[in-house]
């Protein structure tokens, strides 16, 4: 992460707004004015509480949710809005998703072989049947499953195994970017590390870039290179992982970090969670913008607040 000068932007969000309307009357803005870049080869984490819009952003990148304003570019090319057929295929092959709930994200009536082959079938990414089988076998092996699992159905697997099937299904497309939407939050604690380590291993082997969506800060600290904190549909702070943990600036981030449980009963007893005073109120206005407070550390604030934050840090 140190070679900050020579970084290539892989995915970029500019002024992204996503809103849901109930028949035109009630417009709910789930995400407002989101701006961030994801660099090739990094793990970019998006953290925030439930309902903050982090999954919505992930789904907008997967083009499940449409943008109401702004644009998303991938390798410099726009991928939001209407795309040509070839562009559509390219985006699907380059960006894949790992889903949150392994119990819900696999088709219960299909064999593992079909589930993993699905992407191959859609774009005919194999030379012949043997080639397809070989690819499926390799994908299973990479995630630590056995070729004999091909003829099994998802309900026969444990949560961790199912999530690994989900990972194999995404990676068989040989994507460049993987959107991981809380990939371990539905898993048993005992196998979370296994799946995280697997994701890290695959990232190194295949030179992947992850957008890691999570609410568990200790997990994020372990896996992420850079973190964006999102609150009520707005990105409030972006910084490198260690920077963010060392110098949390935005009051919401401070309160979020203070809520991380420590596996030490003495510290845990003394831990004083800081309540975010404006939890329900949206702090915004024309003066607000993402401002660089420390190198590569951006906070959503007014110029006066920025001054104050800088002063506090000194």
């Amino acid at each position: 992460m140190s070679e900050t000068t020579n970084r290539e932007v892989l995915l970029s969000l500019r002024n992204v707004e996503i809103s849901f309307d109930n028949g035109g009357k009630h417009k709910f803005k789930a995400v407002q004015d989101a701006n961030f870049d994801i660099y090739r080869g990094e793990t970019f984490a998006l953290v925030g509480e439930s309902g903050s819009g982090k999954t919505t952003i992930g789904r907008a990148i997967m083009r499940i949710n449409e943008l109401s304003a702004g644009e998303i570019t991938f390798e410099g090319k726009r991928i939001s809005g209407k795309l040509s057929k070839q562009e559509d295929i390219d985006v699907i092959r380059n960006i894949q998703m790992i889903f949150q709930d392994p119990a819900a994200s696999l088709n219960e009536r299909a064999t593992i072989e079909y589930i993993i082959s699905e992407g191959l079938y859609n774009f005919h990414l194999y030379k012949n049947e043997e080639d397809r089988i070989a690819k499926v076998d390799r994908a299973l092996e990479e995630v630590g499953l056995l070729p004999e699992h091909k003829s099994r159905y998802p309900h026969e697997f444990s949560g961790g195994q199912r999530q690994r099937v989900g990972i194999a299904r995404a990676l068989i497309m040989e994507p460049k970017l993987v959107v991981a939407d809380e990939p371990i939050s539905a898993l048993d604690v005992s196998i979370r590390a296994q799946v995280l380590n697997l994701m890290n291993k695959l990232k190194n082997e295949k030179a992947l870039t992850y957008l890691f969506i999570a609410h568990d800060l200790s997990v994020v600290r372990f896996i992420a290179d850079r973190i964006a904190v999102i609150h009520l549909g707005r990105i409030v702070e972006i910084a490198e992982t260690e920077e963010l943990f060392a110098y949390p600036i935005h009051p919401y981030t401070v309160s979020l970090l203070s809520a991380v449980p420590m596996p030490d009963p003495i510290i845990e007893k003394q831990r004083e969670p800081i309540v975010y005073a404006d939890a329900l109120e949206e702090k915004t206005g024309p003066d607000y913008a993402m401002r660089e407070i420390r190198p590569e550390h951006y906070v959503y604030c007014t110029p006066e607040q920025a001054e104050k934050y800088r002063k506090n840090l000194d």
Binding site: R59, I92, A110, H155, E156
Partner: protein, 308 residues
């Protein structure tokens, strides 16, 4: 410093590959359906009964030589109104025909009409319903079509169509299909909407799977059980409906044998020669009820929650 307990334990070998192995026997959906269905002796008995009944009804009229336009014994007074006996199993009717032949010929047409109509209704209904449930654009205008079609008085339409098209097997099947498909489509549409946005369907979408493949691989396999339940209800309902339309004089014409018209004709002998009325009614009931029960058993067996 080594304690004594330390020697009691040693590291065991751990094979990661072995831990991934699934020991349970292989699962197959249709094998489990088969197994669950034939688990109960009552179901086996009923299925054999239904198949025998249907096959018999389909074959018997071909060998009996009975024709609804023909009455060879009409001038033979000794052959009229005979009660059921060893020689005349169901007795004979007012024009000297064997009730046995009359009933099976009628049952044959009822069964053919109902099976063919159900096949057409379900095929159109499932295809339209699946697309309807998937496409929000289609939903906007299909729901209006549904509102209009489902409010057309069924009997009125049946009357008009039978006058326009004439009273044949084909036109009766058309009459039965031309409204019912939209109920099936609406039912399937609702089912599709329930499972359309589940995460595994989003996953397929992210993999670029086309709508038609999603319908065939992701949606319909989940709906097997509800579709079988629907068919199990539809077949006996349409048999009864054919009987009803023919009874009202709207179904098959006089040159077709029909259970409905037979019952309608024999109605006047309910007190004098009760066997004439009750035998066709009971045959109708036997066919419809046993088909219904077996259908329900099959529907239960196709529900994976009943699999062990």
């Amino acid at each position: 410093m080594a304690r004594e307990e330390d020697n009691l334990f040693e590291f065991a070998d751990f094979d990661e590959k072995e831990s991934e192995h699934i020991a349970a026997p292989r699962y197959s959906y249709w094998k489990s359906v088969w197994h669950t269905f034939f688990h109960s002796k009552v179901t086996i008995f009923l299925s054999v009964f239904v198949i025998a009944l249907v096959v018999f009804a389909l074959i018997q009229p071909l060998t009996s030589g009975y024709s609804p336009t023909d009455a060879p014994n009409i001038n033979n007074a000794e052959m009229k109104y005979l009660p059921p006996s060893a020689e005349h199993i169901f007795g004979t009717d007012n024009i000297g025909n064997e009730v046995w032949n009359v009933v099976w010929a009628g049952a044959r047409n009822s069964i053919i009409v109902s099976f063919v109509s159900t096949a057409i209704i379900m095929t159109i209904g499932i295809l339209v319903g699946a697309l309807w449930g998937f496409s929000k654009k289609m939903d906007r205008w299909m729901i209006e079509v549904y509102n209009v079609v489902s409010n057309v008085p069924y009997l009125l339409l049946a009357m008009i169509l039978s006058y326009v098209l004439g009273a044949g097997l084909g036109s009766l099947i058309f009459v039965m299909c031309c409204i019912d498909w939209i109920y099936v489509a609406y039912f399937i549409r609702t089912q599709v909407m329930i499972i359309r946005d589940r995460e595994y369907n989003l996953a397929s979408k992210c993999l670029g799977t086309k709508t038609f493949t999603m319908i065939m691989k992701n949606i319909l396999p989940y709906l097997v059980s509800v579709i079988v339940t629907y068919i199990a209800r539809e077949i006996p309902a349409l048999i009864s409906y054919e009987v009803f339309l023919s009874y009202m004089g709207l179904g098959l014409g006089t040159n077709y044998a029909s259970l409905g018209r037979t019952i309608s004709q024999y109605r006047s002998y309910m007190t004098g020669y009760p066997h004439l009325f009750w035998i066709p009614v009971l045959v109708l009931a036997a066919i419809a009820i046993s088909l219904y029960v077996v259908g329900q058993k099959l529907a239960d067996a196709t529900d994976p929650r009943t699999h062990r």
